[in-house]
Each structure stands twice: as structure tokens, then as C-alpha cells.
Amino acid sequence: MSHRVIVPIGPYHPLQEEPEFFQLYVEGEKVVDIDIVIGYNHRGIEKLAEAKHFDQVAFLVERICGICSSSHPYAYVLAVEDILGGEARVVPERALYIRTIIDELQRLHSHLLWLGLAGHFIGYNTVWMWAWKYREPVLDCFEMVTGNRNSYAMFKVGGVRRDLEEEDIPMLKKAMDELLPAVDMFRGAVMDDPVIRSRLKNIGILTKEQAIDWCVVGPTARASGVNIDVRRDEPYGVFNRLSWNVILQKEGDVFAKTVARILELYESISIIRQCLDKIPNGEIDADIKDVPAGEGIGRVEAPRGECFHYVKTDGSNRPVRHKIRAPSFMNVASNKVGAVGGTISDAAITLAAVDPCYCCTERLAVIDKPTDKKVMNGWDLIRLSQEKTNQLKEELKDTLK
């Protein structure tokens, strides 16, 4: 019988926003099973929401995630507006455009963040540094438009809290113009590089059937050929008035997930540009006073996939029940098929490919079961992953010439 070793990944790190705990069962190099434990950061937000009035809940749910911090308030206000008759009927035109711009800016910064970390894990630190360098101007845009680099506090039931200033529009256009060549560069760096291709191809595969079985969402589903995107299927904001494409891949491996996210950057830039060209003048807030009794569902396409909120009201000024389902809740569970069967050097990038919070992986540690002796820590696993890339570079040296 071969020697089975447990590799615990997680759960805590001061930088984590989503602590998760993966236990990999490893025989030799091969991952044979995985146990996923979550809940380390369960803050009871669903329960807290029942004690806050409708305006306060938007701020509360914004704090669920620091990266997609506009998706949760957006899904929440959509749920309340569903009770009021629907976003399109309640919210003024200009506010719809501002909401769409914020939603897409957020996708840009989130995907760039992911790309940088993915680059780091496979030993491409240049990709890491450059991706984060080009993410910075996106955060500057947020600061200019909303006043905050994160947690924008833009969403309220019936509209948005801050208007887009006249001088913001050329600034945003310029930022998009400057970001485009950078995305071109990333596309070239990832799609044309034989080393990255052979490093990421055919690892962590989630087939279309598995993606449906695990009900995954977002780029994780689209990279496996599942054709879903809330922005198209149930348009919110002004997505149905713009021309853009849903990015679909069919392989379901880490490479497909990477390509899907890079190509989505182009769509986001295009969406923001169209919004800036078309944005009308007018009110930004419908000034909603009361929410009647009822129940509503709101969902948006967060950078990681469908973010789902259910709100039940009884005519008072607080929700009676607020159910929140973040996209990672579905996606992280699918690691059970993605990581099993692969090698330990692919584990870091495979677990990361669904885009959970990355910081978890910095707490990787390999423990030899019988002696409980720590033989590897997180950096060692990242090093393993990077070494595999270097090895591939060596092998491919002749073909690269």
C-alpha cells in the first residue's frame, strides 16, 4: 500500500477574505481525495441583515467580499426592487448606466487581481507585477468616481448614491484606452506562450457534465462550455442595450479558465466605453420611502459568477429573511473533482483557478501523517509549482528557439 499523506491548505491568514480549508490526501505526487472545510469566516450576515433597515443592509452586504464588493449590494438592491416592480421600472436611466459602469470596473480589477496571482503561482512573477500595475489605474477610477478604492457604497434601493461628474467621463475613457494595450499584452503573454500553455493545459479539468452536476457559475462554468451569464440571461442595468459577447470555452481546464477571464477583460472595457458614450443626463435616485410586503430575488453576474440574493419583507422597514449565495459557494465545492487525480504541484493553481480568495494558499503546509512532522509549508508548494514551470521551460527550450 502506498503511503498516504494529508496536505492541509488553510484556513487562516490575516489577509484572507474567504478562509477555506482544503485537506488534500496525497499518495506520492498524486492527489487522491480532498476534503473541503469552510465556515471560518461565517459572520452571520444573513441574520444581521434582519436587524437593519433597507438602506443599512446595502452597506452590510458590501462587506461580505472586499473584491466583488459591488456585486452583493447590487444583487440586494435588485432583490428589493423586484418587490417594488423591477429595476427597469423603478430606477432612473442615468443610475442604470452608473450601476453598469461600476459593475464592469469591478470585473476589470477582480480579473486583473486573479491574473496576477495565477502568474505568481506558476512562477511568472512578471505577469504578477504587471497585472497588479495595470489594476492600479482601475482602482484610481473607482476612487475618482465613488470616493473609495474598495467598498464603494454606491448602491441604494432606487438608484445610486453618487453621481458621475462631468470630468469623470474623459478620465474613465482615457483609463480604458490605456488599459487596452495592457490586456493585449496579457493575451499574448498567456495564449501564445508555449510554456504557460503546456503548464495550464489539461490540469484541473471540470467537464461540462461535472459543471452542470455541481451547479457551478461564472467563468468556471463558461470555461467548461456551460453557456450562462446573468448579464445576458436576465439583463440588469443596461446590459441588454449594449453590444458585447459572452465568452465561452469548452476545455474546462485551468488554461480555459485563464483565457475566459482575459477575454472578458475586453468585453468589460467595451461595455464601459459604450456606457460612457450613451449615458444620459437626469436623476440618479428614485427616492424610495417604503418597501411593501413581499418577496424578491436579485442576481448579478459577479466576477466569479452568479451572486444570488433572496429578500422577504413584511411591510416594516427591515427584511424578514435575507438569503445570500455567493458564487464561490458553488465553485469551491467543485474543487472536489478539479484537484483530485492531479499532482500536488498542480494543486495550488487548480484550487486557485475557480478564483476563491488566494491568500488561503499561502497557508499551505504538508504534514507527514504518522509523525505529524511538518515537511513543507505554503511557500514550498508554490515553489513546487514554479519549479514545474521551469522544468517545462527547459524541456521546451529547443522548440522555443
Partner: protein, 144 residues
Amino acid sequence: MNIRDSIRERLGDKIKDWKETSSRRIYLSVDCADIREIVGFFFTELEMRFATASGVDTPRGLEILYHFSFDRTGEIYTLRVLLKDKKHPEIDSITPLFKGAEWIEREMWELLGINFKGHPNLKRLLLAEDWPEGEYPLRRQNEP
């Protein structure tokens, strides 16, 4: 045949109440005993995607809402069941039908105390290991 007709034809009087709050939000009340059959029909035959399930503690009993997304039309079909026995609420698990329901059923089991019969791996998901047995944070019995 459109999807509403398929549902009406196949399920007939298994649907106790059909409510549409807007053009894309359909709420169907059904009996607990039929849940696995109906969920199987939605997921396999109609190819709906399971979004999530919401457990709600109401004065009449514990309610579970199974939210299914029909992505071709952007509609959300919600199946509503009511478990009247608050002391021993239980219902058939839908996890044997597809893997995507495993976590949310574990969550409802620990937060609301609903027993899912036939769940392959019913253990704690979010609560700490030392959380007392029989205490369900989303139940309302402790509120004034």
C-alpha cells in the same frame, strides 16, 4: 411547447399554488413528499440550474424555497415546501440527484435543524465544532 405548459402538464395537481410576482419570478407551492420527483424533473428533464435554497422560519412552520434558474429565458422557478412539524422537520434530500445541493442542505441542516433524509454527507459546514447540539441560529424561538 413552452416551459410553463410542460410543468403544468407533467405536474398537474401536484402544484398546490402557482404565483408569479413578476414575469421572471415564478413561485410554486408543492408537497414535501413530492420534492425529489419534482426537483429531478426540473433538473434533468427541463435542464434547469439549481441556484440555491432558502430556509425560512415562519410562524406556520419551516419553509424551504428551492430556487431554480432557467437560463434560456432568465426566469427563476422557486419550489416552496412547508414543514409544519417544527420539532422534527425532515424532508428528502435532493443531493443524490446532483452534487450542487450538498453544501446548501448541510447549511440548512445546521442553521435551521432540518433533517435531509438520504443526504450522503450530513455534517457541519459553517458552524464551529463546539457549537451546542440542538441550537439553530436561524430559528426564531429565542427571539422576543
